[in-house]
């Protein structure tokens, strides 16, 4: 192995043990029934994406909230209600 290659190999190996903040998933939950009309996060069962809910507290529109927060909010549900 060349010097560069050894350096690359060890840099890649070092990456495997670096602590990384869990960015992709994990610390939030979907909270249904609490979003203001037009302020929902992506997505509801009947519309494709963020900001498309039509009324306040729509049962199938959700906001992403920190884990554990949803049950403390009035009307907040962890599962979608129909329509």
């Amino acid at each position: 192995m060349t010097k560069t290659r050894i350096a690359i190999a060890s840099a890649l190996a070092a990456a495997l043990v670096l602590p990384v903040a869990a960015q992709a998933q994990g610390n939030t939950e979907k909270c249904y029934g609490i979003s203001k009309a037009g302020k929902n996060d992506c997505q509801t069962a009947t519309s494709s994406c963020a900001g498309t809910s039509k009324k306040d507290a729509q049962g199938d529109a959700w906001l992403s909230v920190p884990k554990g927060a949803c049950e403390k909010i009035v009307g907040g549900k962890l599962t979608a209600a129909k329509g």
């Binding site: 192995m1 290659r5 690359i8 190999a9 060890s10 840099a11 890649l12 190996a13 070092a14 990456a15 495997l16 043990v17 670096l18 990384v20 903040a21 869990a22 960015q23 992709a24 998933q25 979907k30 037009g38 302020k39 996060d41 992506c42 997505q43 519309s47 494709s48 994406c49 963020a50 900001g51 498309t52 992403s64």
Partner: protein, 266 residues
């Protein structure tokens, strides 16, 4: 003699996207409502539905130009590129290129790049949540083999580069954001679009990271990608970049030899 069914269907399809034909109108029975008015109902409905579908797929473009401008642009697009398949969420792949050439939008040079970002988010959102590469999976690989390893991006992932700060433009266009002015001179942005459990999102990459990812997308080994990262940015930190991408679950799980055997056997 009435027109052949095939000709009638072709004329109807053409009428829907804006090309009238006298033959078609004469083949439609019109009593209280004239034939051409009856046909316009269909044209209006198709245009409206596809315009709404495009607005759902390109929400940031719509937020930037407003409803009226967006719908006019969508109608022009629908007339030129009618859907070729029935899934509305898969309609609009040509829209960013269309926006780039759309004369009335030339005052917003970044608009086509924002459309590419919206499209990539849409694709990521609808892609399957397949298994991702975790740091633990690579612990089994001998260190000296790591440089020659090829890792592919996860399903739905895409690298979107723009001369303009489209990440800031995107954030400023979200509903409810206070619209701080975005300085177009802030320069280029390289974004990595990814699927996560519930939706799609993007992160902004540094120049070295973007070069690293671009070389991996082309199917090259980590060693070559590392060299490209260093070339793009002398301060490129391979360990930090690779750890960040692993943490983002940006890579697809490694192809196992065992998996291939199973596929062959079935």
């Amino acid at each position: 003699m009435p027109p052949a069914l095939r000709d009638l269907q072709a004329a109807f399809a053409a009428q829907l996207v804006g090309r009238d034909s006298a033959d078609l109108a004469s083949a439609v029975v019109g009593d209280s409502i004239p034939a051409d008015a009856r046909l316009r109902v269909y044209r209006h409905h198709v245009g409206h539905s596809l315009g709404a579908a495009l607005a759902a797929t390109f929400p940031t473009v719509q937020a930037l130009v407003g409803d009226d401008f967006f719908q006019a642009m969508a109608r022009a697009f629908v007339a030129r590129e009618p859907p070729t398949q029935p899934v509305l969420a898969e309609y609009g792949v040509e829209f960013p290129a269309f926006v780039a050439g759309y004369e009335p939008a030339q005052g917003l040079p970044y608009l086509a790049d924002v459309a590419r970002l919206d499209w990539a988010l849409n694709v990521a959102f609808h892609s399957p949540a397949t298994r991702r590469l975790a740091a633990a999976d690579l612990a089994a690989v001998a260190v000296e083999r790591l440089p020659s390893l090829t890792v592919g991006l996860s399903d739905g992932a895409a690298l979107i580069g723009s001369k303009y700060p489209i990440d800031r433009i995107w954030h400023a266009s979200q509903p409810g954001t206070s619209t701080d002015a975005v300085d177009l001179a802030a320069g280029r942005a390289d974004l990595l679009v990814l699927r996560r459990a519930d939706d799609a999102f993007f992160v902004t990459l540094a120049a070295g990271e973007a070069a690293f990812v671009a070389v991996l997308i082309d199917g090259n080994a980590l060693e070559l990608a590392a060299a490209a990262g260093l070339q793009a940015d002398a301060a490129f930190d391979l360990s930090m970049a690779f750890a960040r991408l692993l943490g983002l679950q940006a890579f697809a799980a490694l192809q196992q030899d065992g998996d291939r055997k199973v596929v062959k056997a079935s």
